[in-house]
Subunit: 136 residues, 2 copies
């Protein structure tokens, strides 16, 4: 039996992990802990640390997918996908050309940009009242 | 010139309005006002009042579409579409067969079902901590 008979498995990608994705899980756990204790969440910009494509897909697999998917169409499309860890959201922002311009992990009951802002609610209510008055 | 020469426009649908859709706009405005004052929103079940297909499309047109679309996939699909009035959401729940089983207008900064519940966050955090321990 020669060397060529020994089965070889190539663990594709594992060698490309920088260790940052594993470290990120700890940061996410700390943010969740803080949110439960104080109500205050936080976000981690994936562009702010050396992060390989292997890191990205490793993290994506570990966090998994949750039940909620959110699309916000403003200047460009933003998506907020709940992970299998409730309160942990995978957030991507795209420009008008559809190019992803940022990607982050947000820890919050709901991502800040998704909830209606009271100032916008006020403006909408005024418009609604005008519409109602026009109907009378 | 006879009667047949007078142009006639048929306002399709207008005759089918029950008046309930118009009344609903006032209820929605009152809920928004209360939410701004107290933080407490509310919901109106569209099945709870006589509501014709004409009423439904009239209301849909008046409320318009906002920037946010949310899909929640639990037993069946639920959709939460922001209207052009921030804080007013058009909510539909479907069963596992894809049949719409309820439809409501929810007034809230974010629909209650969409935000992560602290109990679920706790459970998710435990799972995440177990995963982190296994990696060590």
């Amino acid at each position: 039996m020669g060397l060529e008979d020994i089965p070889v498995t190539v663990e594709t990608g594992a060698a490309d992990l920088t260790g940052n994705a594993q470290a990120l899980l700890g940061e996410i756990a700390a943010l969740l802990q803080r949110m439960l204790a104080t109500g205050e969440g936080g976000a981690i910009d994936l562009a702010s640390l050396p992060f390989s494509p292997a890191d990205r897909s490793w993290l994506e697999q570990r966090l998994g997918r949750g039940e909620v998917e959110i699309r916000l169409m403003a200047a460009g499309l933003s998506t907020f996908n709940e992970t299998a860890c409730p309160g942990v959201w995978w957030v991507s922002h795209h420009n008008e050309a559809g190019i992803r311009v940022s990607e982050l992990i947000e820890v919050a009951r709901i991502p800040e940009l998704v909830a209606a802002h009271p100032d916008d609610v006020k403006i909408g209510l005024e418009r609604l009242n005008n519409l109602i008055n026009e109907l009378d």
